[in-house]
Symmetry: C2
Subunit: 491 residues, 2 copies
Amino acid sequence: MGNKLTKRSEDYSKWYNDLVVNADLAENSGVRGCMVIKPYGYAIWEKMQAELDRMFKETGHQNAYFPLFIPKSYFSKEASHVDGFAKECAVVTHYRLKNAEDGSGIIVDPDAKLEEELIVRPTSETIIWDTYKKWVQSYRDLPLLINQWANVVRWEMRTRLFLRTAEFLWQEGHTAHATKEEAIAEAEQMMNVYADFAENYMAMPVVKGVKSENERFAGALETYCIEAMMQDGKALQAGTSHFLGQNFAKAFDVKFTSNEGKQEYVWATSWGVSTRLIGALIMTHSDDNGLVLPPNLAPIQVVIVPIHKTKEQLDLITEKVSIIIKDLKLKGISVKFDSRTTQSPGWKFAEYELKGVPVRIAIGPRDLENGTLEIARRDTLEKKVIFINETVLYVEALLKEIQESLFLKAKHYRDSHITEVSTFDEFKRVLETKGGFVSAHWDGSKETEEKIKELTKATIRCIPLNTDIQSGFCVYSGKESAQKVLFAKAY
Amino acid sequence: MGNKLTKRSEDYSKWYNDLVVNADLAENSGVRGCMVIKPYGYAIWEKMQAELDRMFKETGHQNAYFPLFIPKSYFSKEASHVDGFAKECAVVTHYRLKNAEDGSGIIVDPDAKLEEELIVRPTSETIIWDTYKKWVQSYRDLPLLINQWANVVRWEMRTRLFLRTAEFLWQEGHTAHATKEEAIAEAEQMMNVYADFAENYMAMPVVKGVKSENERFAGALETYCIEAMMQDGKALQAGTSHFLGQNFAKAFDVKFTSNEGKQEYVWATSWGVSTRLIGALIMTHSDDNGLVLPPNLAPIQVVIVPIHKTKEQLDLITEKVSIIIKDLKLKGISVKFDSRTTQSPGWKFAEYELKGVPVRIAIGPRDLENGTLEIARRDTLEKKVIFINETVLYVEALLKEIQESLFLKAKHYRDSHITEVSTFDEFKRVLETKGGFVSAHWDGSKETEEKIKELTKATIRCIPLNTDIQSGFCVYSGKESAQKVLFAKAY
């Protein structure tokens, strides 16, 4: 291996950072907390975007674009929202620079001060609901099913590539409905869309649930979420979908004339996932040799490396390989043939292992004689020699198998890291020794939730949906509990 | 017609604005100079993005993402660039808001002042070349062929939807090369890609050329451009591609070890098109009835409107139509069946005319009896009755014909609005009466160019490439001129 990855067992956090940088996914920029997403990392984001965008459109949503800047006063209109979002943010106060009179360089022109400061959007509910006011008059204008792909900025003090950055890329859906029931159904639908994407494309199993009041989005009546489990036993919130009630409609005075001719406030949802998903993808599957990417999101699904000494050998291999490439592409499989002569086959093997390409094909003069080639799968590192004419069918099946196998492996890990506990001692011991989700009864109070967080650093990741609901007694207070909830330390 | 568009002949500028708003393309937001791109307008941008992105990838480029914010000092590093870009811009000076102590609301926290102000990117050369410094060591790292899809902000005083807004969406390509020749070839290639896109997708003829020194991008040695002609006789710069020489490499100290082991500065290009293209698209084809969209970029290519009185009639029509829809979709044609009963057929006709849907199909009970339907094309407003079983082939051919016909019509208009002049009186008269491009000899001096601009408001749109180059005498100064150039009033 040419790269120098820290081992996960040595320093998980350093392993993650090394991997993001060495696999050419992203790096820190000269701007505090802002990352550069490098082409290989961005290609993964493009694959994610394409699938999500398709799923959003299939569920009736359209894309639009709203301003980057939000006037400061907009944030004050929704009381709980301002506390949650308008604090740590980038504030635009001026609109001009000028040359300093003393020739010392360029300075902010004090004469170009904005009357009202503009906030770089940390999320767009306020500017969007200010717009919806103009779009909604009658029940005929509803539902409004809109999504935006955008950059947002939250001034984070401690940042980590993909997981927590000051600027990040995301999508934010913002919908408006005539009834409460329809809005709740929408919020639930989008949680399900996210879960479908996480499991079937990212091969990352998730628990669907709702947040406790404490952990809810600022301004939401209910926050639906999908929670994933990383290899270090910490949970990661992978997507959220909020039922916002009529809070934003009231704050921005968005009413409609109902079917019965009455004036009513509109019901709202919002939902989003971000480039954070790339961090989740990395931490779900990758190993000490580098990235492991699920075929459904891998920018390159198959790489072909020729093994040769002479130019004649390379020409023969190239000829043979060009047919395979054509056939693979016809099946919609993305292939890269790396015939560079500036790098050795060994260097290339290490490189594509680091970059998590699911399937590697190696072919040399001896293979040509035998009509064979060697196929290696990235997830298990297993190699197999097959006949050349079997390649397309074999690769097609192998990509499906890898996708499924990655999901099952991650699911096995996740399932074995949900531990039911019934005492607080057990709770603490499991958290400290094994990590993962701790499933425990909770009395439903904010006080207990905060006390547990203070004592263990674990938060309620979600109150799971679709589970056997059994009542019991709170693991901390001993009070009555309606159902078990999932606690964990989290990213 | 239900909409109230101002006629072009009455007030072209108002016609444009009415059209953008009434056709649901975009609207002004509560934030000065920033627009909301509505779903229908954004759908056109998505079609543009998809084609351009494909063309960029086919020419070897990859996408990446760089920070929204640029430290103020970065702009000072390239001398001409700072004057061109760092003046009218959004400046972030603080990173926190807080509740005012007097309870008057939220205010900027004076303790959260940034040490160095951040500029919201007006263009990304500086932050990208600061990054390339880390990516380029050897000739093996070159070329770097990178594109970014992003939002940018330029604090414009007078804004117009799509044409000139404080925030706009665009793509910016930034490439790094080992040799001057390669960089120039890249800049020319991208101008050609833009021209191809403009002509074959937007159906908008363009003149390819280079800018005069005055009109060049700040920091460029050569600016290649494509210039289009709008229906009011004003020119519109539709895309630019810059050969930046070694200016940014020197400013950010980006060197590489050449094949021969020497340390050399890298050669650069940058190129971009923006949501301004939507404005160009509108002004090239649309008429007093509304938008006219070329089929290759129309979000909806075919709309089907049922003509019915009873539910039974609608059911019969729906059954018949569902087969047509399926067959059209198989051909990759996007179809909308508008079976809403809340709106009349007449209302729908006007709506889709306003929205520029290229082909409209109407079908009623009488048609079903006769096995026919009515097809109307948006560009010429011609209608024709055809047999139902001919529909798919007919529509397929018609979409091609409309695409071609729109281009030829626009080309005819453009060609008839390039007027060769040999005296300055003629120059002024043509500009005032006919408008369009004025092709005239120019002595190549900045002084003459500025004087002509001062006297006529016309600028040199480009020095055309690929034309018969004939020398002559400057239309203004009478001095020697190497070739004719194109002047026009411009957006």
